[in-house]
């Protein structure tokens, strides 16, 4: 709030209309809440201008649904409590629908948990003018519906639908084509369609992709999980790819990914089988999509020598800003200083490459030279990349690169990776690395001879129509990387590294490994780090008790501004109750991971407990509940699994806690009658107890 002291005017002198516009422009929820608390007028204005609401709260307290948001056009009902509960089996579904409709009369965008057909009918019929719908369902698709029935129900109610998001909706691929066929005019009006969903066991086949794109010629955004593997009948190959570009020429965003990729498999190099996709096809497809801004082709088999296709991409799709590729080889194989392939896509702001088996340091440097506006760069599973190549890339892109992710690259364990990013350590804002710890000895070897002689192209070269540079000014460019090494040395030959702008850190770590070496590896000083995401993965069924008692979360105390954490142990597999003799229950592992979490001043935590796959159980154990309860400043806690009432009640000891939910958002979410860990009644009792308390701010 600026006050011009001399003139004595304050913000409250602004006419309401202007003030209302200002407040309307604020989108961050907490800021809006603060504004609403400033004074009555601001509160009224804030309420009147809020456009999006995500409704939390228990269905039993329906009478408390706020009526004060007349301008809401985007409503999210998917997080109502009990989470995942079908609205249509509440005691008075018609009343619920009526109350919600009355509170939010005109919606253009609607998100809800579509547990079953009757819920879809109940909700969709209230807001028939909705243009954007997102269906959410992590529970298994009910058996009763015939293929497509659920979507047909939705289409029959919401005629004006333009955008449909099924990326979190557990259904079958068979459900989609019949619904589109039954409502051809709706289909042809669709501009956004998202069926990129990891729950599909197989992904869409070629015929299905062709049919879908043919029904929806006006698509601007299309995301689909496909079956690319040529060993399967009906796999998506050349024909389907071309048909996408022919049927939907207006596409600006295209994501096609193989379902196996969506399940986050880690690996590197080449696969045994090649994909059945020709470079010529790619060129043809790209030529048909001139409006393309964002492209993802994440497939599961090799496409060799694909560089030529990407050279064309740059000229055919001049608006392309974001590119993600998996298993496309040969995308950057520069010969001497001549750039090729992806490196010629100089308009790219975001590039993510996965499993490019033949990408080496020179290729990487080529990308750094060519894609000179890159702000985001992710690389996964490229075994030939080393610290030198990565470091040179970082230096080349120093002016623009702020978001980097390196994973599953054999020659880039944590320390090497952080060393490679030194040139941008004062600029980088978001980072992902794998916590693969190596010995310090390897680092010593790398300190010598880090310099590269580069012939670099002048930055403002023109490129003619087919993407090749016209004028090539040869300049001897010698970059001495040793220059930066000894700054801030603490006298022990080990420099203290400050990552000034780093706000978000994502880590992958194998089960059983410790977190504590992180500071030593190079992330010693991150004064502005606010958010961290840690993913722990592996099978602890064969592992003996960890030698250390704790994983090392306490070391995160080094980052003073850290307040938000995702701790994802969901892909850690073990035994909940049935560990054979000599092996450890998951309760021991949860204790190992969570010790020390109370020392961090977290305000928001998302936690995925480890799972016992045999019984589809991801559940909080006693030490986990006890350790979570020690996070005294926690305001929001979301547990992505189940917990029973006794343990949930522990959490009431956290005085600041105001928003808690158990969200079983994994496939398949356990059906309530098979897993009694968190029953609707327990949930209600817990939430009632939570809400009864006084909140200090």
């Amino acid at each position: 709030m600026a006050t011009a002291a001399a003139a004595g005017t304050t913000i409250s002198d602004l006419p309401d209309v202007i003030l209302s516009n200002i407040i309307a422009a604020v989108s961050d929820v907490r800021s809006r809440n603060s504004a609403a608390l400033a004074c009555r007028k601001w509160c009224l204005l804030e309420r009147a201008t809020r456009a999006a609401v995500s409704l939390r709260g228990n269905l039993r307290d329906l009478f408390m649904v706020p009526n004060c948001f007349p301008s809401v056009s985007a409503l999210d009902l998917s997080l109502l409590s009990p989470w995942g509960h079908p609205l249509s089996s509440a005691s008075d579904p018609a009343l619920i629908a009526h109350v919600l409709r009355h509170a939010f009369p005109s919606l253009s965008s609607l998100t809800f948990y579509a547990r079953n057909l009757s819920t879809i009918q109940l909700v969709a019929s209230q807001w028939r003018s909705a243009e954007h719908v997102k269906l959410v369902r992590w529970h298994q698709r009910p058996q009763v519906a015939a293929a497509g029935d659920e979507l047909k129900m939705l289409f029959s109610e919401c005629h004006r639908l333009k955008s449909l998001d099924l990326s979190s909706f557990y259904c079958w691929t068979d459900d989609v084509p019949p619904a589109l066929e039954a409502y051809p005019s709706l289909a042809s009006n669709l501009t956004r369609f998202d069926i990129l969903n990891p729950s599909f066991s197989e992904g869409f086949k070629s015929d299905e992709i062709k049919a879908i794109t043919k029904s929806c010629p006006n698509l601007r955004e299309f995301k689909a999980a496909c079956r690319f593997d040529p060993r399967y009948i009906g796999f998506v190959g050349d024909e389907a790819l071309v048909s996408v570009s022919v049927n939907c020429p207006k596409l600006g965003v295209l994501h096609l990914a193989d379902t196996s990729v969506l399940l986050n498999a880690r690996g590197d190099g080449f696969t045994a089988e090649d994909a059945s996709i020709n470079v010529a096809t790619l060129i043809e497809a790209f030529s048909g999509l001139p409006l393309l801004e964002e492209l993802v082709l994440d497939i599961c088999n090799n496409v060799r020598d694909s560089g030529a296709a990407f050279e064309v991409l740059n000229s055919r799709c001049p608006k392309l800003r974001s590119l993600k590729l998996g298993f496309f080889h040969g995308i950057s194989m520069p010969i001497e200083s001549k750039l090729d392939g992806v490196a010629l896509c100089q308009g790219l702001k975001s590039l993510s490459i996965r499993n490019v088996g033949d990408l080496d340091d020179m290729g990487l440097i080529g990308i750094g030279r060519g894609c000179c506006k890159l702000a985001e760069f992710k690389i996964h599973g490229c075994s030939k990349i080393t610290m030198k190549g990565m470091r040179t890339l970082a230096s080349l892109l120093r002016k623009t690169l702020v978001d980097v992710g390196v994973s599953c690259c054999r020659n880039l364990p944590a320390r090497q990776c952080l060393k490679a990013l030194e040139p941008i350590q004062d600029r980088i804002e978001r980072l992902h690395i794998d916590c693969i710890w190596d010995s310090a000895q390897e680092l010593e070897d790398d300190l010598d001879g880090v310099g590269f002689d580069l012939n670099c192209l002048d930055q403002d070269n023109d490129f003619d129509d087919d993407g090749m540079s016209k004028a090539r000014k040869r300049c001897k460019y010698s970059y001495d990387l040793n220059m930066e090494l000894d700054v801030n040395s603490n006298g022990y030959g080990h420099s203290v590294r400050t990552w000034d702008k780093l706000e978000y850190l994502s880590l992958w770590i194998a089960v059983g490994q410790l977190l504590t070496p992180l500071a030593q590896a190079g992330l010693d000083h991150c004064p502005n780090l606010e958010e961290i995401r840690i993913k722990v993965e592996g099978d602890c069924r064969e592992m003996s008790r960890p030698r250390e008692r704790e994983f090392g979360l306490s070391m995160l105390v080094n980052y003073p501004k850290l307040w938000k954490m995702h701790l994802d142990c969901g892909d850690t597999i073990g035994y909940a109750h049935t560990a054979p003799s000599g092996q450890m229950d998951l309760s021991l592992w949860e204790r190992f991971y969570l010790i020390g979490i109370g020392h961090l001043s977290l305000m928001e935590l998302d936690y995925w407990p480890p799972q016992d796959r045999d019984v589809n159980q991801r559940s909080l154990s006693l030490p986990a509940a006890g350790l979570l309860q020690e996070c005294f400043g926690l305001r929001k806690l979301f547990i992505h699994g189940t917990a029973h009432e006794h343990f949930m009640m522990f959490l009431l000891r956290i005085t600041e806690l105001r928003d808690v939910q158990l969200r079983e958002d994994y496939y398949p979410a356990p059906e309530n009658d098979m897993s009694t860990e968190m029953r609707a009644d327990s949930c209600s009792r817990f939430e009632a107890a939570l809400n009864r308390r006084q909140i200090s701010d």
């Binding site: 054979p580 309760s587 019984v615 030490p623 006890g626 020690e630 860990e677």
Partner: protein, 266 residues
């Protein structure tokens, strides 16, 4: 009391058929432990499932420390449930402590049960002269001290950190699930479990019994099954499963389901 008890203990009846099967879980788990056994019996039995009052899924306020001092109160709960559901005859399957509860219930109301199927049952787990229950006093003490440590921590607002894997291997299999409840309840019910001795009343059981045991259940030595068979008052048979572990309904549900099917009265 009847109807509110049905709600409080999450009583559910699933499946269809004329015969009634009651599945009762042991301490430290809840009725979801039977989830993979259910499919084998749903089509020809009405199955009654419920949670013990100390289970994690039951509102902890219901655990009355002055009432649940011995197993008799649990027996009363069971009989109340069956009465509230108007069941006059059923087959009862009980695991571990619920097997004990079933035995006591059948002594009180023999007409109610046409068969008892006891999974992982032991009349007394502490060794005695001439009786090998499986555990020595010293081993039990170690379990209790872990539980006491948890209790102290919990009462003082700290995290209870002792888990099943911390106790000696000999007692681990039996006690690991006990650490799955609120620490004060755990400590309290464990005393009941470890102190119970049913050897004296086995002769009073007239209902026919099937004793199902795993070959390598560290908690229940093989000799216990023979002891029980010899001392039960009615007809009884022993079925050994060639697997290890104290929780066959979780670790080997297919095998257990087959064995249960064989043990059911025709």
């Amino acid at each position: 009391m009847g109807h509110s008890l049905l709600e409080a203990l999450n009583v559910r009846v699933v499946g269809s058929g004329e015969k009634i099967l009651v599945l009762a879980h042991g301490f430290g788990t809840d009725q979801s432990a039977w989830q993979r056994i259910l499919p084998f019996f749903r089509h020809d039995h009405r199955i009654v499932l419920f949670d013990l009052v100390c289970a994690g899924t039951v509102n902890p306020d219901y655990f009355d420390f002055s009432r649940y001092t011995s197993l008799d109160a649990y027996v009363d709960d069971l009989l109340c449930i069956l009465d509230a559901l108007r069941i006059d005859r059923c087959t009862y399957v009980g695991h571990s402590v619920s097997a004990t509860i079933g035995i006591l219930a059948s002594i009180k109301r023999p007409q109610l049960f046409n068969k008892l199927i006891l999974v992982g049952f032991s009349p007394r787990i502490l060794n005695d002269h001439n009786y090998h229950g499986g555990f020595e006093q010293g081993e039990i003490e170690q379990v209790f001290s872990a539980m006491k440590a948890n209790y102290e921590a919990w009462v003082n607002g700290f995290a209870p950190l002792a888990v099943g894997a911390d106790v000696p291997e000999a007692v681990r299999e039996f006690s690991r699930t006990l650490f799955n409840m609120r620490p004060d309840i755990t400590l309290f019910v464990s005393r009941t479990v470890f102190n119970s001795d049913l050897r004296g009343v086995l002769g009073l059981v007239k209902v026919p019994c099937s004793i199902i045991q795993t070959a390598k259940d560290v908690s229940v030595p093989a000799s216990v099954a023979a002891y029980v068979k010899n001392h039960l008052g009615g007809r009884s048979t022993v079925h050994m499963l060639n697997i290890e572990g104290h929780l066959p309904h979780l670790s080997a549900p297919n095998l257990l389901a087959q064995e249960l099917r064989r043990a059911l009265p025709k």
